[in-house]
Each structure stands twice: as C-alpha cells, then as structure tokens.
Symmetry: C2
Subunit: 156 residues, 2 copies
C-alpha cells in the first residue's frame, strides 16, 4: 500500500531551493558563481590540484575547467603552478586572496548555520538529521558514493 506523498515531495523540493538560494547569496557576496566557488572549495580541501582531478571531481569536461581556472586566475584567487613530476599537468593552487575568500565563505556559513539551527533543541535536531540521512541514502545514485573528504559537491 502506497501512501500519498504528493505534497511532501514538493515541500522537499522547495526546501532544496531555499537552501541552494542561501548558498548562492553567500557566494554572491564574495562575487563568486557556484562553479567557481566549487573549484575553490575543492582546492581548499585537496590542496594544489591538477585540472584533470578538478574535472573528475566536478564531473565536467577538462575544457570547462580551463575556463573556470582562467576566470579565477584573472580574479587573483588561484594560480597555476608547474607540476613537479609531470610536465603535461598543471597544479592549481589558492593564492593568499583565494584563501581569504574561502575563509570568508566558511565564516559566513558558520554564522548562517547558527541563525538557522540554534533555536532547535538537540534531540529534535538529532532526529531530524537522522531522517534526513535516511532519505539522503535513498537519494544517492549508485554512481556517486558519499563524499569521504568532508567536501560534498556544492548544490547545482
């Protein structure tokens, strides 16, 4: 017997929209688009990264990474470095300005999270997150295992 979940799915989608809008507003304050922010985010977690690795983790083409890195380079947030052992490859690293930008993003999100969650009791939050994890598990396509490095792909 299948329960009628019609309105529920729409509420979930609206929730997702609100969350990604929150994310976007934070990025916008730093003058960043979502794809560009995601590149910074990856490098922040992995350290200097080849464009090939970026293409794999962002699930886009190498050509696309070229454009994103070009743009971030022009903004002074990122720089290309020589790969120590492979002269075909390029390492993309954060500049000091890039590091500061990521720090600003993190600080903004920490304060946002407080506003969002502080009024909710510990047990209520725990139960909420447990159900959320349960639903998330069913949402995860087999092709994409849960992130292991603490840097989930930012919402698209």
């Amino acid at each position: 017997m299948t329960t009628n979940h019609d309105g529920t799915l729409e509420r979930l989608f609206e929730f997702a929209t609100l969350l990604t809008d929150l994310l976007d507003r934070g990025l916008e304050q730093q003058g960043l688009s979502r794809p560009r922010a995601e590149v910074l985010w990856r490098i922040h977690h992995h350290g200097p990264t080849t464009q090939r690795q970026l293409a794999d983790s962002l699930q886009c083409t190498p050509r696309n990474v070229t454009g994103l890195v070009d743009a971030l380079d022009a903004l002074g947030l990122v720089e290309r470095q020589r790969h120590p052992s492979d002269r075909r490859a390029v390492l993309v690293a954060l500049t000091p300005t890039g590091r500061r930008t990521v720090d600003n993003l993190l600080a903004a999100y920490r304060s946002r999270a407080s506003e969002l969650l502080d009024g909710i009791s510990g047990p209520q939050l725990t139960s909420f997150l447990a159900t959320l994890a349960q639903v998330a598990d069913r949402l995860r396509p087999d092709s994409r295992p849960p992130p292991v490095d603490g840097s989930p792909r930012l919402a698209r």
Copy 2:
C-alpha cells in the same frame, strides 16, 4: 552560546544537491531543462499565462522568457495565443503534448516520492517535516513569500 553546526550545514547542502539531482534526472527523461520545465509547471498551475507574468514568477527578464517560450514552442509543448483584451500581450498555453509531458513528470515524481518516503513511519515523517518547515521558514527571504498555489519554484 552558539552550538557548532559546521558539519550540519554541509549535510543540509548535500541533501539539497541530492534532491535537485533527482529532480534533474526526472526532467532529463522528458528532455527538459530546469528553466523550461519551470515554465511548463507555471502554465500547468496558472493556465494560459502572459510572458510578463512568467518573467515575474520565474524572477527573470522578459527577454529570457522569450527564449524559453521559443524553445518550448519549437518542441511543440507550448503555443502562443492572442490575448483577448490586450494586443501587446501574448498568452502562453500548453499544447496537448505539453499537457502529456507535465502529466508524465507528475507521475514520475509520485512514484519517486513513494520510493523515497514509504519506509519511514508516519510519526517520524511528521516530525521530520515539522522541523523541515521550521528551518524553511527561517530560510525564506522576506522578498519571496511562501508559494500559495502549490507550485513552489523548482530548485535552481
């Protein structure tokens, strides 16, 4: 005293990503992009709609609507009709094919919702949705009131 919610916000963002990915996979099966699907969705709920109204509800420029309607028209999902009283305006309506496409989307989402939520007990789901609504209320910017017509903006 502010609790440390660092990982929590990231889990919420990942959840949003998974949900919007689910949404996109459904749209992709109907050969639709998110902006185009949103136009269909709006017209499905409001009936024939002027491009001005579409621009307002999608929060984009009229120029943008022109492009989206052109594309949906070329796909045979939508047609432009004369406005009965304002000869400047255009009414955009679903074609029979467009209606069938929307019906397919709805059916697909109903079955997806079952897969996603059926194993969760009634009380657990109720409590989950209550907390979700509480967080959603704090997420909603003043500028965008909660949807009143059952057609929340699709996630971006």
